[in-house]
């Protein structure tokens, strides 16, 4: 379970960007690339080390006119942390 006030950010080992040729968000890292689907891209776009998990969920629900996304965002962030894609802003 992720504390709701935790503020995720992209790990400095990765660069997150929109890649026109792929028509997708990608994570670039030393000599490699992960192509992300739309929902993963939308979550990571909001992992700026400023917004809390709660704020990210609220933001996504507003942007996509949806509700009850918290569990899915949590699950994704746990996976992203295990992959080293994100870490948590300690300050």
């Amino acid at each position: 379970m992720i504390p709701t006030l935790a503020r995720p950010r992209i790990n400095r080992l990765f660069r997150f960007q929109w890649e026109p040729a792929q028509q997708a968000h990608v994570l670039l890292y030393p000599e490699g690339m992960v192509k992300l689907n739309q929902s993963a891209g939308e979550i990571l776009k909001r992992c700026d080390g400023i917004r809390s998990v709660t704020e990210i969920v609220a933001d996504l629900e507003a942007a996509f006119n949806a509700s009850g996304l918290a569990a899915e965002v949590d699950a994704f962030l746990l996976m992203a942390e295990a992959q080293n894609w994100i870490d948590w802003n300690p300050s």
Partner: protein
């Protein structure tokens, strides 16, 4: 919301290359006996100009390439790599500098960082001063440790590459320990692949089976101990695993390399192959080279494969293996890679492996330097 999509390399196939590797020079302050550069590098034509490189970078990015590597030789001997990095970064490339660290001063590091350099891969040749200096035929060990500390202080993840071979593989425990001391995030342990100078020195570089098994055991112990703190990638040698590998994830599928003198290649070492015309980036654009040139289509896909491979269930996985290995060992670039046990030429590999078990056959190393290059005057 769906689970994120992790796309395996084969699914990233696309119109253009994903990787652009700029081998900006063959000049190098080190003289490593395991270098994959062509033995006759001293006979290559003049190096591309800054403008030529900028053109290549723009054309490759327009085709969708996302990774840009600068390598050599030692790229830092050129004084314009900051300009190339800045342009590549500005266009959206992830920029990688692959260096021995020799020539990386505080001032240059600051300039590269300012240019937007994303990543530095630093090569180490061994864990002790004596062994590092022996295999490179230089005095560079202390300098490398200094450079590693400097790049870390500049905020770069520390990514270390160490090529393993007969004379350093027994020091692996100490090599990994050194990487931990330095604070490395990634350590790539690349067993020597026998191309260029490494092929020339094969008998002196190939470890015994027991050495290799011990190295794998040491690596596994450290991996278990370090977990996420430091990722270790152990790249197994083709000869010993007997598993053919696709040329750079498939000939003309993801990877584009440009030689210092402007030839476009589907892998680092393809310029050794006979009877092929290597397109010059000053005469052709990257779009034509990638899609249309006879070179990039020569071994693309699987239609060209020899009979041994056509009937094999693994043909999509390995595309018949490495073209350069096939050529160096059999004289036929279109043959099944002899590392494959199904190859009619596989006995050549077994013979090389048997020789590695007989230390009396080990010969003095021939170091990679311009003098030896001119004297030998051949590709491998």
């Amino acid at each position: 919301m769906n689970a994120p999509l992790l796309v395996p390399p084969q699914a990233l196939k696309r119109a253009g290359p994903l990787w652009l590797l700029a081998e900006v020079t063959y000049r190098c302050p080190l003289h490593c006996a395991f270098c994959y550069n062509p033995v006759d590098f001293a006979q290559a034509g003049p190096e591309l100009s800054t403008e030529d490189w900028l053109k290549v970078i723009r054309q490759a990015r327009a085709l969708g390439a996302a990774q840009f590597g600068i390598s050599g030789g030692e790229p830092l001997v050129r004084d314009d790599i900051e300009i190339l990095v800045a342009e590549a970064r500005q266009l959206g490339f992830y920029t990688n500098l692959i260096t021995s660290g020799v020539g990386l001063t505080e001032a240059r590091l600051a300039a590269l960082k300012e240019a937007g350099l994303d990543h530095i891969q630093l090569s180490f040749q061994d864990a002790t001063k004596e062994a590092n200096d022996l295999i490179t035929n230089t005095r560079t060990f202390e300098l490398k440790r200094k450079v590693a500390a400097m790049t870390k202080a500049a905020g770069y993840p520390t990514v270390i590459n160490c090529v393993l071979h007969r004379t350093n593989i027994d020091h692996l425990d100490r090599i990994i320990e050194m990487a931990v001391e330095i604070g490395a995030e990634y350590l790539e342990l690349a067993n020597t692949q026998y191309h260029g100078w490494a092929f020339l020195n094969r008998q002196s570089l190939m470890p015994t089976e027991a050495q290799l098994a011990e190295a794998e055991a040491v690596t596994e112990r450290w991996k278990a101990k370090l977990g996420k703190k430091m990722r270790i990638l152990f790249v197994t040698p083709d000869y010993q695993t007997k598993k053919p590998k696709k040329c750079m994830n498939g000939w003309g599928e993801v990877f584009l390399s440009i030689t210092p003198d402007g030839l476009a290649l589907p892998c680092h070492t393809a310029r050794m192959l006979p009877g092929l015309e290597f397109p010059d980036v000053r005469e052709h654009d990257i779009d034509w080279i990638w899609h249309e040139s006879p070179l990039f289509n020569r071994f693309r896909g699987t239609a060209w494969l020899p009979e041994t491979c056509q009937s094999c269930e693994d043909k999509e996985k390995d595309h018949g293996g490495c073209r350069c290995q096939a050529f160096m060992l059999t004289g036929d670039a279109g043959a099944t890679d002899p590392v494959c046990p199904k190859s009619p030429d596989h006995a050549l590999i077994e013979k090389a492996l048997a020789e590695a078990e007989r230390p009396t056959l080990v010969k003095p190393l021939v170091f990679r330097d311009p003098k030896n290059s001119v004297k030998l005057g051949r590709a491998f």
